[in-house]
């Protein structure tokens, strides 16, 4: 079936819109009585618009996009993991080590040979760290490399 992606998106948007609109109706009436425009008015309008948009997409979907399969999809997941792990390790390992690993891993996965990838990572990490911590006096975490 063509337009599969848009139909699913339309359905998802509708579910989102209904949930969003329903939550808005649960809020207690603000102190001092109801006005014409309460906290729920605007979200209710938005929910209605989005339901309409979702229905439209389900009825008239555009042709499907080319979705990555197999190896490309795997590469995408790997890159995302790198980003999440980077965010996780930024504070414990410190900026220089985690950045070397993250930038290196990303360039390597994008096609650079491993050595130049990690060298690029190291150089960019050191340059940015020195520039930020000494040049601009911002605080990037030093982590393991911290001098006590």
């Amino acid at each position: 079936m063509t337009g599969f992606g848009d139909r699913i998106l339309g359905l998802g948007l509708m579910v989102l819109a209904v949930a969003y609109g329903w939550v808005a109706q649960q809020w207690p009436e603000p102190f001092g009585g109801a006005e014409t425009v309460g906290p729920e008015t605007f979200p209710t309008i938005l929910a209605v618009v989005l339901v309409a948009g979702g229905i439209y997409l389900m009825i008239k979907p555009d042709p499907d996009a080319q979705w990555p399969l197999g190896k490309s999809a795997l590469e995408l997941v790997v890159s995302l993991l790198v980003l999440v792990v980077y965010a996780m390790l930024l504070e414990p390992l410190g900026f220089v080590i985690s950045t070397t690993l993250a930038v290196g891993a990303l360039s390597w996965r994008m096609g650079a040979n491993p050595r130049s990838a990690f060298v690029t990572g190291l150089i960019s990490a050191v340059v940015v760290f020195v520039l930020f911590n000494y040049g601009l006096s911002l605080n990037l975490p030093a982590g393991l490399l911290e001098v006590h």
């Binding site: 207690p28 990555p68 360039s107």
Partner: protein, 508 residues
Amino acid sequence: METLGFLMEGFAVALTPYNLMFALLGAFAGTLIGCMPGLGPANGVAILIPLAFTLGLPPETAMILLTSVYAGAMYGGRISSILLNIPGDEPAMMTCLDGYPMARKGRAADALAISAIASFSGGLIGTVGLIMLAPVLAKFALSFGPAEYFALFLLAFATLGGITGKNPMKTVIAATLGIMISTVGIDISTGTQRYTFGVLELYEGIDFILAIVGLFAISELLFFVESRMGHGREKVSVGKLTLSFRELVSTIPTQLRGGVLGFISGVLPGAGASLGSFISYTLEKQVLGKKGKFGEGDIRGVVAPEAGNNGASSGALVPMLTLGVPGSGTTAVLLAMLISLNITPGPLMFTQNADIVWGVIAALLIGNVLLLLLNIPLVGVFVRLLSVPPMYLLPIVTMVAFVGIYSISNSTFDLYFMVAFGIAGYFLRKLEIPVVPIILGLLLGPEMEKNLGHALVLSDGDWSILWASTLAKSFWLVAGLSLALPYLVGPLLRRRMNAAMKESPVSD
């Protein structure tokens, strides 16, 4: 003459060594951003926002930096159009048509030089237009009530897809999603907690800067990973400059026409820089008719679109500065900077923050001169940087985005949020839901709700106030038309633009 006085004060702001340094830095970085693949102007400015923010730059300096980047990106886009037949950014598409054939004939240096000059005059014409039009429009906008503003915001969303946009309904969906995200947090007027689910980090709402950086920078990285275009391009040589003075003079009428047309299409909602350069090119072809050799490396075919898109980029600042309603992705990002500097955009900015507005405008004039000076002698440097493969560039850009977001709040929570926005951005872009309306929704959502509330308080709950005045009515009408037009004339225009691309004999 009042304007001239303000402009002089603006120059006083922009010409301080400190601000001048940042203008130069911005112009240089902007040209780089424009010419590099995978780093469009909106993306580039978005990554620089958290940096400008954490550096603690004074508001006028931060704005001068980002406006220079914006102007620079418009210059940079042409370099890869001419040398590689690949536009560095979307508005530079039309420059490929005659720029690449010129380069093939060994006149790459001439094409680069003349297009820098055309960019300069386009930018200059656009900025002069901005200086004349903006104060008038700002004065007019002072008469807007909340109902007019509400209608104006709708108009901004409706026209964002542009008349060449594919599916206006997707623009509407994107804008709604953006506004929905902006409702998260404590409601300003009643104090009700909305969609916070008890998560402390959500009480103040979702910071649009991290949403912007995630939606642009992270999703761009994912696109590159998917397309495996990491390896970049071969080196290109530029050759010697053989441009004669007579040839330069002969393009002056083209430069003027291109600049003016570009400015007009920049100001108009929904037209933008891409259409600006398209119109200037087409008109030039029609005016010169058989006398020109368009598509085969006619020098005026390079001048017209470049003057057009730089005129348009200044023109696009008019609605952003005077009404607080940006008409393009990059100006939306600039608006984000203004809002995070606690400056309320709109007509009042011209009286309350005159130093910033006029400082930015003066910086635009100075920036154009700097860009011309940078672009002619330094073109070799930019060309060399063009061959830096994205497989090194994009990871570093991503890292800079991480640094910027991290240093705003020193918390990794924001980083996860940014990555999540990146994933969402990737899926939405895959499904052809445009990202820019989401950002505009995030930025304008709170204002929209506030104006809706005010309008209904004024009318005592009568909803018809939203379309009571003639002005509001006409906004609604234009908004409706811009959603309907893509269905009617969109396919035709798109076909023409594509046909123009194909006509070029060397579009390989």
